[in-house]
Point group: C2
Chain length 166, copies 2
C-alpha cells in the first residue's frame, strides 16, 4: 500500500513539473548544448570574448573550432574528435575550447579564408598560432577524420606556450 502511494506521489510530482509549461506549436524541443556533440564532457566557452577572457586569466591556450551542422566534413570530423579520449583529455585539462558556427569579426581567426571545419589555436598571449597547421596547402587549418593524429600532435604543439610564465 505504501509502495502504491509512493508511485502515485511520484507520478503526481512528475505531472506537476511538466504541466502548464510552455511548449512550442511544433512540439517539445531538446535543449541545445554548447558542445554541439564535439565533446559533452568539455567545458565550452560560449563566445570568443569569453574564451579570450579565460585563456588570459587561466594562462591556457585556446582552441577555436569552426564548423557547420549541415556540413558532412564537419560531421565526419566531429565523430572522430568526440570519440578520441586522448584528444578530449588534452583539451579538457590544458585548453580553453570554443566551437563556433558563425564567424567572428576577428580576421586573425581566418588566416587563409573562412571555411569549415577549421581549427585555430590562440596562445594566452593573444597570438594566433598561424604556425600550427594541418596537411592541406589550400586550407591550412582544415582537418579530415584521418588527420586526428596530426591534430593531437598540433594540440600538443599549441600546449607549449609561446611565452611561459616561470
Amino acid at each position: 500500500m505504501i509502495k502504491t502511494s509512493m508511485s502515485l506521489l511520484l507520478v503526481l510530482v512528475a505531472v506537476s513539473l511538466t504541466f502548464g509549461k510552455y511548449t512550442p506549436k511544433t512540439g517539445k524541443r531538446i535543449p541545445q548544448t554548447l558542445s554541439r556533440g564535439w565533446g559533452d564532457q568539455l567545458i565550452w566557452s560560449q563566445t570568443y570574448e569569453e574564451a579570450l577572457y579565460w585563456a588570459r586569466s587561466r594562462n591556457k591556450p585556446l582552441m577555436v573550432l569552426f564548423h557547420l551542422e549541415d556540413c558532412p566534413h564537419s560531421l565526419a570530423l566531429k565523430k572522430v574528435f568526440a570519440e578520441d579520449n586522448e584528444l578530449q583529455k588534452l583539451l579538457d585539462e590544458d585548453f580553453i575550447v570554443l566551437n563556433l558556427m558563425y564567424e567572428t569579426t576577428d580576421k586573425h581567426l581566418s588566416p587563409d579564408g573562412q571555411y569549415v571545419p577549421r581549427i585555430i589555436f590562440v596562445d594566452p598571449s593573444m597570438t594566433v598560432r598561424a604556425d600550427v597547421t594541418g596537411r592541406y596547402a589550400n586550407r591550412m587549418y582544415a582537418y579530415e577524420p584521418n588527420d586526428i593524429k596530426l591534430l593531437i600532435s598540433n594540440v600538443k604543439k599549441a600546449k607549449k606556450l609561446l611565452k611561459s610564465e616561470l
Copy 2:
C-alpha cells in the same frame, strides 16, 4: 527466455555506449545548455554575430539578456522569466534570443553601463532600442522579478518593428 536475452542485450548496448568514453578526473559533467535555464524551449543564438545574422535574415527583433550565474538578482529574474508562458511564447515566436554572461565589444549594448541582469532589444534594422526601458533611472535596462509584466509590455513594444517591410 527471449525477454531475458533482450534485457541482457539492452544492458550490453548501454554498457558499450558509455564504456571507454572520456570522463574528467572530477567526475562526469552535465553538458551545458545554451538556454542556461532562461527557457529550455527557446532557440538561443550562441553569439552576438549569430543573433544579428538571424535578426536581419528573419526580420525579427533581437533580445539580448546579460546575466551571471552567481548573481542573485539574475537568478531571481531567471526563475520568473523561464516560468512565464506568455513571455516564452512571445520570444519563441517573434524574437531572436541571446543570453550572454560576457560583454561584447559593441558599446551600444551598454547604453548606461555594464550590469546584470540587463535586457536590451535590437531592431532588425540593427538599431538598439534604447527607448525600451525598465523602471529604474540608474539602471534603465534592469528588471526585477516583480517587473515581469513591464518586461512583457516592453517585448510587445519591441515587436513593433521600427521599419516594417510592407
